[in-house]
């Protein structure tokens, strides 16, 4: 729903209760499994990637033939 449409609805009908299923909800076994699997797989991926990146030699060492300290001259060349 676009925001405009949503806002028009909520402002004009703000006294109406949202009609939704009123059964109580609790985190069930399926919810636990999906949540743990999703969060842990993303965490594992990000930890592996970031650890690998940070444990690599720096870019300067990899490009040893290039200048050791790269001056981008960003601001000097600005004008």
């Amino acid at each position: 729903m676009s925001f405009g449409g949503w806002l028009a609805t909520i402002l004009s009908q703000s006294t109406q209760q949202v009609k939704v299923n009123s059964e109580p909800i609790s985190l069930n076994l399926g919810g636990w499994m999906v949540m743990i699997l999703s969060v842990s797989s993303v965490l594992a991926l990000v930890i592996y990637c970031v650890y690998t990146v940070l444990s690599l030699p720096s870019v300067e060492e990899e490009h040893i033939k290039g200048p050791l300290k790269i001056d981008t001259r960003d601001t000097q060349d600005a004008d």
């Binding site: 729903m1 676009s2 925001f3 405009g4 449409g5 949503w6 806002l7 028009a8 909520i10 402002l11 004009s12 703000s14 006294t15 209760q17 949202v18 009609k19 939704v20 299923n21 009123s22 109580p24 909800i25 609790s26 985190l27 069930n28 399926g30 919810g31 636990w32 499994m33 999906v34 949540m35 699997l37 999703s38 969060v39 797989s41 993303v42 965490l43 991926l45 990000v46 990637c49 970031v50 690998t52 990146v53 940070l54 690599l56 720096s58 870019v59 990899e62 490009h63 290039g66 790269i70 981008t72 001259r73 960003d74 601001t75 060349d77 600005a78 004008d79």
Partner: protein, 659 residues
């Protein structure tokens, strides 16, 4: 190999954080949880991860590869990059689309960024709490001066019934109906709170009238907008390394720390109101994560999951391709691309998925579901309401909105760089000149979106046509360019030059064959769901009502039957003959078509009419104006691309590519 641009990323982690910063934004914290909760909860994650593996990560690698390839051949702007990859005169115009997209998105995104900053400032000034003792005192005093001393949200809470009555009368309801609704609001604490925060937001963004957000009374927003606009341009002026990279190296860890603090607060809320034991953290997590496997059979779930991945990773925005062009020839692409995607997923699944919906559920209960289908409603109305009820909520509200602001600024700054690169590369402008030209164009667009603020139609139109439709088109062009023009053999070799991880060969086959088909399917599904209008059958009624309808009146009996079938017919309705015999259109006070009634053999069938995007645009002069504005920007950019192309030919830069 010649290197045209002097700008290069300073470190490996710097470029990763910059690309991830570009991708992490409001969508991670607000759009993703809303989408998941609406589409099967935990079941949503299956199509979500499939889309990530099949569509998201491969497309990212394709953009990284083409960007670095062209960057090492002296081109950083999209028209130049596209020309390097596809040696045809029209390629540079396709690249022009990769300038239009970030530029137009910036025009409204910077405004949203200013909202976030404005909210954070309002939290600092104590404007965002519902101060019950002060409200009671003001109510007792009964004077305007007493009300004026209250903070903004408290004032809206105090005056909510009066505002409600005024609004409903403006909408054409009778005075009695409006009074009854106001009284109902007065009696309902939760509705009154929701109204106060809705009012605060609509006043801040100016969605009630055109141009009101630009007035002096909206001082905090104006100050925020000027501040974030200048902040973005200062970062861009400082350049890729000293501006974007330096900022992202601080901003990304800061964002993670702020989000983790809010996450810990949310997960330790327990059951804040003992009288409502069903509103606990565990039930909030259940609301978000419990899988509904039936939803997997609904194509809309797959479409929503693919769209979420697509929008979240910033593919098809023209940003990654530009950022990657500042890499050196032997810099790693494979691991860097994967890391930036995984950082984005961390913010989305591990933080966004555990904070927003559970927090909203704990305090709002099942009513939180009513907010989940609108990113803005969830972020700017439901969550402030939640923070107002939370212990130390003012502090956590400030942290949350400041974190959203930081997330927004890392994204908005990335939208400026592709155009800055083009102005410098295509016209030889120095940084101050290119920043000034871009500042002028983008300020014009921001003013347009800000002025036409009623119901946020201009913002919605920009977001739909550019932030949704055009990025699909550009992603499709890039997938075809990589798979069929650049070639997957060359792509694979280029991707693995300097790579620290090996990417299996089948990924290349996926980019060539699966990604374009997958993208086309999502795009067609998206168009099918969004563009045409729909009539949904609601209930069957007695054919006796046909006489009243033919006389141009909506009979009371239909209202009663509608209410019994959960269908609200407009209180002020106009009946018009439909396009075919035995059909009537029900229009509201604004002449908008809301319901269709058709005579069938077994009685009258009542349908709810949902206007599709085409119909909405056709009925809205502001939407048409917004599309024309986008068209004018596109024409201007294409003219500039043409001039830049002629300049490159004159300088012989394109000949060097062939030699």
């Amino acid at each position: 190999m010649s290197i045209g641009s002097k700008e290069r990323w300073g470190s490996r982690i710097g470029v990763i954080l910059a690309v991830a910063g570009s991708a992490v934004g409001l969508g991670n914290f607000l759009r993703f949880p809303g989408n998941a909760a609406q589409n099967g909860g935990g079941a949503f994650m299956l199509p979500y991860f499939i889309s990530l593996l099949v569509l998201g990560i491969p497309l990212c690698w394709a953009e990284w590869t083409m960007g670095r390839y062209a960057g090492t051949r002296g081109f950083n702007s999209a028209p130049g990059i596209f020309t390097v990859i596809w040696r045809r005169p029209f390629a540079k115009y396709l690249g022009g689309m990769a300038l239009l997209i970030p530029l137009v998105i910036y025009m409204y995104y910077v405004l949203i960024e200013a909202w976030c900053f404005g909210y954070a400032l309002h939290y600092l000034t104590g404007d965002m709490q519902i101060d019950k003792p002060a409200i009671a005192a003001a109510e007792q005093a009964g004077t305007d001066e007493a009300a004026a001393k209250l903070g903004r949200v408290s004032r809206f809470y105090l005056l909510a019934p009066e505002f409600q009555e005024e609004d409903l009368i403006k909408q054409g309801k009778s005075r009695e109906e409006a009074r009854a609704a106001a009284q109902k609001l007065r009696d309902s604490e939760s509705d009154r709170r929701a109204f106060a925060f809705s009012k605060f937001f609509s006043r801040l963004v100016g969605s009630e009238e055109q141009g009101v957000s630009m007035q002096g009374a909206n001082g905090i927003l104006l100050i925020s907008l000027v501040g974030v606009f200048l902040g973005n341009f200062i970062l861009i002026y400082r350049g890729v390394t000293k501006g974007i990279e330096a900022f992202c190296r601080i901003a990304m860890p800061l964002m993670a720390v702020l989000a983790v603090i809010v996450l810990v607060r949310v997960l330790t809320l327990g059951t804040p109101d003992p009288s409502k034991p069903d509103q606990s953290v565990m039930s909030g997590l259940g609301f978000m994560w419990n899988p509904d496997p039936n939803e997997l059979l609904d194509p809309k779930t797959w479409l929503a999951a693919s769209g979420q991945i697509f929008f979240s990773l910033s593919v098809g925005f023209g940003i990654i391709i530009n950022y990657a062009s500042y890499l050196r020839e032997n810099d790693d692409l494979a691991l860097s691309g994967l890391t930036s995607c995984s950082v984005n997923e961390f913010f989305e699944v591990c933080l966004g998925g555990l904070i927003t919906i559970p927090a909203a559920f704990v305090f709002l209960g099942l009513a939180a579901k009513g907010y989940a289908d609108s990113t803005f409603a969830l972020g700017f109305v439901a969550l402030p309401n939640v923070f107002a009820m939370m212990p130390a909520g003012q502090f956590f509200g400030f942290l949350w909105f400041f974190m959203l602001f930081v997330a927004a600024i890392t994204s908005s700054v990335s939208m400026l760089q592709p155009v800055i690169a083009f102005l410098e590369e295509g016209f030889g402008l120095k940084r101050h000149a290119s920043a000034a030209v871009l500042g002028l164009i983008s300020a014009l667009g921001v003013a347009f979106v800000m002025y036409f603020s009623k119901n946020l139609v201009a913002l919605d139109t920009f977001d739909f046509w550019v932030g949704s439709v055009l990025i699909f088109v550009l992603a499709m062009i890039q997938a075809i360019m990589y798979g069929w023009v650049f070639g997957i053999d060359r792509g694979n070799a280029e991707l693995h030059r300097g790579a620290h991880i090996r990417i299996p060969w089948f990924v290349q086959l996926m980019i060539k064959y699966v990604v374009p088909v997958y993208l086309a399917a999502i795009f067609l599904g998206f168009c099918f769901l969004s563009l045409p209008s729909k009539n949904t059958f609601k209930f069957k009624s007695n054919a006796d009502h046909a006489a009243s309808l033919a006389a141009g009146q909506l009979p009371d009996g239909l209202y009663d039957e509608g209410a019994a079938n959960n269908t609200e017919l407009p209180s002020i309705a106009r009946i018009e003959a439909g396009s075919r015999e035995g059909e009537w259109e029900v229009r509201d006070k604004d002449n908008a078509l809301t319901h269709l009634i058709r005579r069938q053999t077994d009685g009258l069938h009542v349908y709810k009419h949902e206007a599709g995007y085409v119909e909405k645009v056709a009925n809205s002069p502001v939407a048409i104006g917004s599309i024309l504005f986008i068209g004018a920007i596109l024409a201007f950019l294409m003219l500039m691309v043409r001039i830049a192309g002629q300049r490159w030919e004159r300088e012989g830069r394109l000949d060097k590519l062939d030699s």
